[in-house]
């Protein structure tokens, strides 16, 4: 490759939003580059072992599951269901969710990208600098691109440009991170009685000092594969001092997560007959970060817009997931929309007038902290990514 590669659209970050953006832009005929620092595509849904797609379906569940956003969200959701051997999504209380295997998301996103003639995927490459125009610095080369899309989840490109285009909630309010891992070989069905039993076992163990108090943030969920279970523990992560952009805190989070996985695994295996056969923990590539920096675009989507199912003229995507607030590691607080009707996400949340050719989507789009509790879910990220990809492909300086 030449040291100065030219593209029409460059997408930075290959999670749900970035993959959708890259597919959408390249399908419009734009010469597109997708850059991802990990080797597997899929973002949190692959590397942090997040294993359920939310936000894919219409919030009115009385009609059965209805896809909410046409195009890539529907296409990828349908393909994931086929790979998982699922006939229907799961109705969880008042919402539909789609369980998936992280490895399926990784291979499916790679296959979809490989099928696009106008799309080049560069994994294992980290963006480290950006200058207007746009020139992007990778580990070993420079990229020139007419349009750029930030789908890093961390508003990395805004931070590289300086202080004026991004926001970060206060440490105490940031949605807590979590550590997700899995095992196989559970010899019973993970139903509600077993889940309640395990919850009580963990409480007793914490009281007795056999497990750290952090184990109280643990939830077990069945994967689409029989006998396979995902274990997810929400972590306080330093509470009032949590900074998701601080390297040392991230390192500490990783080691706390690994130690906890080992402790919970040891405990489960020796505390309940259905768990004596479980295989050792499969660890994630990294811990799951729910919230970090967000872009400040031409419009900042608010919780009120979502709750009232507000619609916009320049609508780019639809949101339907309730506000799922996780400001503590003691479980989510849900706030449902007033009516079971979707809310619009305007195109002005995906761009900033002062930065022509710059777009953003996924969990770093322009919204407030409360609105993020809804629009950060992967189904919605696919939809905002798709919209940003189309906008970037159509952009002319």
């Amino acid at each position: 490759m030449s040291p100065h590669d030219e593209y029409e659209v460059t997408v930075v970050g290959g999670g749900s939003a970035g993959v959708a953006a890259a597919l959408a832009a390249s399908r419009q005929g734009a010469r597109t580059l997708l850059i991802e620092r990990q080797q597997l595509l899929g973002g949190m849904g692959t590397n942090a072992m997040v294993h359920t797609f939310c936000g894919l379906f219409h919030p009115d569940v009385s009609q059965g599951p209805q896809w909410l956003n046409p195009g890539i969200p529907t296409e990828l959701g349908t393909a994931l269901m086929q790979r998982g051997g699922m006939e229907e999504p799961d109705l969880m209380g008042r919402v539909y969710v789609l369980r998936h295997r992280p490895a399926d998301l990784a291979s499916l996103t790679a296959e979809l990208c490989a099928a696009e003639p106008h799309l080049t995927v560069l994994t294992g490459a980290e963006v480290t600098a950006l200058s207007p125009g746009w020139t992007i610095t990778l580990n070993d080369r420079l990229i020139h691109s007419r349009a750029v899309i930030d789908t890093t989840g961390d508003a990395l490109l805004a931070r590289l440009l300086g202080h004026s285009h991004w926001d970060l909630a206060t440490s105490a309010r940031l949605y807590r991170p979590a550590y997700v891992w899995s095992f196989q070989g559970l010899s019973a069905i993970l139903d509600e009685p077993l889940r309640l039993h395990v919850a009580a076992l963990i409480v007793r163990a914490v009281k007795a000092g056999a497990l750290p108090a952090a184990a109280l943030g643990t939830t077990l969920r069945a994967s689409p594969t029989r006998g396979e279970v995902f274990v997810s523990t929400d972590l306080e992560a330093g509470g009032d001092h949590w900074d998701p952009l601080d390297l040392d805190q991230r390192l500490h989070l990783e080691s706390e997560g690994r130690a906890l996985a080992q402790a919970v695994w040891d405990f489960l295996r020796s505390s309940h007959p259905s768990f004596t056969t479980i295989t050792p923990p499969v660890l994630p590539v990294h811990a799951g970060i729910r919230e970090s920096a967000r872009w400040r675009g031409d419009y900042v989507l608010s919780a009120d817009d979502l709750i009232r199912s507000r619609r916009f003229e320049d609508e780019a995507a639809l949101a339907g997931w309730p506000l799922e607030m996780r400001e503590t590691a003691r479980g989510p607080r849900f706030r449902y929309f007033d009516q079971p009707e979707p809310a619009g996400i305007p195109a002005s949340c995906l761009r900033a007038r002062s930065l022509p050719g710059m777009f953003f989507a996924g969990r770093c789009l322009s919204c407030d902290h409360e609105a993020l509790a809804s629009v950060r879910v992967m189904g919605t990220c696919l939809a905002t990514g798709q919209a940003a990809g189309q906008m970037a492909a159509a952009f002319r300086p």
Partner: protein, 82 residues
């Protein structure tokens, strides 16, 4: 001194400790699972029951019926107290 154990006191513990939150009014006969009582919220509830009423619940005693409403839970806990 363990607190008085009635359906109302169990319900106020659940609401005070934000084990569940609800926009609609919650009574001692409201189904707590329908309001989002899940296994993680259950762990917090068990800890608070132990703190306030001095009653430890064994894993084998965890059934949906016993935790379905504040009234059912109070009755179960009262039975354990004596």
């Amino acid at each position: 001194m363990p607190a008085d154990l009635s359906a109302d006191s169990v319900l106020s513990l659940i609401l005070e400790q934000q084990i569940i939150e609800s926009a609609e009014p919650v009574s001692v006969t409201t189904d707590l699972f329908a309001l989002g009582l899940d296994s993680m919220a259950m762990m917090q509830l068990l800890l608070h029951i132990e703190d306030r009423f001095g009653i430890a619940i064994a894993p084998g005693e965890m059934t949906r019926d016993r935790f379905a409403t504040a009234a059912a839970l109070a009755e179960f806990l009262a039975g354990k107290q004596t």
